[in-house]
């Protein structure tokens, strides 16, 4: 799968669960890898780009999660 497509899938997964269930990095890796038959390392690389660019951020509330940054 193209990395850009994978990034879109990840972003949408995070977007959909916002406000319902906070996702941990490993939740994302497991789910995307299972649903789309992609190797976890590939998902991780795509997620890494989303985090490095700031489209997604890590948050902390008694545990570390991946979320969409709040709008200022």
């Amino acid at each position: 799968m193209e990395k850009e497509e994978l990034k879109k899938i990840i972003y949408e997964l995070v977007e959909k669960s916002m406000g319902k269930k906070k996702l941990k990095q490993s939740d994302i890796l497991k789910k995307v890898s299972k649903d789309h038959g992609v190797d976890k390392q590939e998902v991780k690389a795509a997620l890494r780009e989303l985090l490095d660019s700031g489209q997604l951020i890590f948050t902390y509330f008694g545990g570390s999660y991946v979320e969409i940054p709040p709008k200022e």
Binding site: K21, K22, F61, G62, G63
Partner: protein, 357 residues
């Protein structure tokens, strides 16, 4: 603002070898023995005969950059710019030239540093952030340490004890630091359940993870309020729910206080590592000097000094005389709270007919 340098990621810390004094580099892994020369000075001798002197001073751990610059200036003068910190946050000046040890000690004394902490003494107190920087603190940590050490400092710089006494302070039951395995430790505790701010729960908290966070299953969903409810009689005030749900504050100025646990150790010397056990379930938060807490610690320490054999850690002394004797010799009241009713309870009940009067 001036241009920022290019950031780098995942480079990790600098390699320690950049910071080692030459005598350490040359004798790395080839030390033969060491001797404690005084409360705050020891010498390590290498196979080669080379020596390094370490001069240890107390630190409040919460230090300004001015403090760091001051000790750097001293290390430049006597240690060719080399120093380290211990795992208990003391400062250690590393001297490779014997003739500089005494002048260093003199200058440190002159400037008011407290030299000591080596051998069978009280070393720096490992502690947490407290009200200085923590959202879940049930008490202050730095203040308790200061109040305690102002009374016990002689055991840092002069007097010897039967063995090392490791003190620690944790400002809540999360216990950052090895409080649960210290000779004498203070722990900030709550006595009342969290309060639920129902209007905030729906925005700030995930109901399932809040429910799951409770170790005694006291929390359940409250669908009508889109919030949670607490079975009060089941709550043991651990505050774990507050860690995952900020809308459940547990701090309660009237009822928060300090518990004292004793008899823990991490070393394997003689006896296996031991957990600390409850000596005093609650004393009031009484800043700035917490007199009730300081008095109780002194009572415990004095009983230990009185009763322990040489080399016996506090926990080893109590094991030898028995906990029933511990409460007798310290005069601390034994209460219902001392009897465990949590995860490891049964292991702690006396399954024998032998005990002392």
């Amino acid at each position: 603002m001036s241009e920022l340098p290019q950031r780098q990621t995942d480079i990790g810390p600098p390699h320690y070898s950049k910071f080692l004094p030459p005598v350490i580099k040359e004798n790395y892994g080839k030390w033969k023995y060491h001797e404690i020369l005084s409360a705050g000075v020891m010498v390590h001798v290498a196979e080669s005969g080379a020596k390094i002197w370490s001069v240890r001073v107390a630190s409040p751990r919460l230090v300004s950059t001015d403090f760091i610059r001051d000790i750097c200036e001293i290390a430049d003068k006597y240690c060719d710019g080399h120093l380290r910190f211990t795992t208990r946050h003391n400062v250690e000046f590393l001297v490779s030239d014997e003739s500089k040890v005494e002048p260093l000690v003199n200058e440190l004394k002159e400037k008011g540093y407290m030299i000591g902490g080596i051998g069978d003494r009280i070393s720096n107190v490992v502690h947490t952030q407290g009200w200085v920087h923590c959202h879940s603190a049930a008490t202050d940590a730095s203040g308790l340490v200061k109040a305690l050490m102002d009374e016990l400092h002689e055991y840092f710089h002069t007097k010897e004890l039967p063995a090392k006494v490791r003190l620690a302070v944790a400002c809540c039951v999360n216990m950052c630091g090895a409080v649960h395995c210290s000779d004498i430790a203070l722990v900030g505790v709550h006595k009342t359940p969290p309060r639920i701010e129902h209007d905030k729960v729906k925005n700030l908290c995930e109901i399932p993870s809040t429910v799951a966070s409770c170790p005694t299953s006291a929390i359940s969903p409250d669908p009508a309020k889109k919030s949670v409810k607490i079975k009060l009689e089941k709550c043991m005030y651990c505050g774990n729910c507050y860690s995952v749900c900020p809308a459940m504050p547990i701090a309660d100025p009237k009822n928060d206080g300090v518990a004292i646990v004793v008899g823990g150790k991490v070393s394997n010397l003689r006896s296996n590592p031991m957990f600390s056990k409850l000596a005093v379930p609650w004393l009031p938060n009484n800043p700035p000097r917490w007199p009730e807490v300081v008095d109780a610690v002194k009572t415990i320490l004095n009983a230990y000094i009185e009763g322990a054999r040489k080399h016996e850690r506090l926990g080893e002394w109590v094991e030898r005389i028995g906990w029933e004797k511990f409460f007798k010799v310290t005069g601390l009241p034994f209460k219902m709270q001392h009897i465990d009713d949590f995860t490891f309870a049964r292991e702690t009940w006396r399954m024998a007919a032998t005990f002392k009067w």
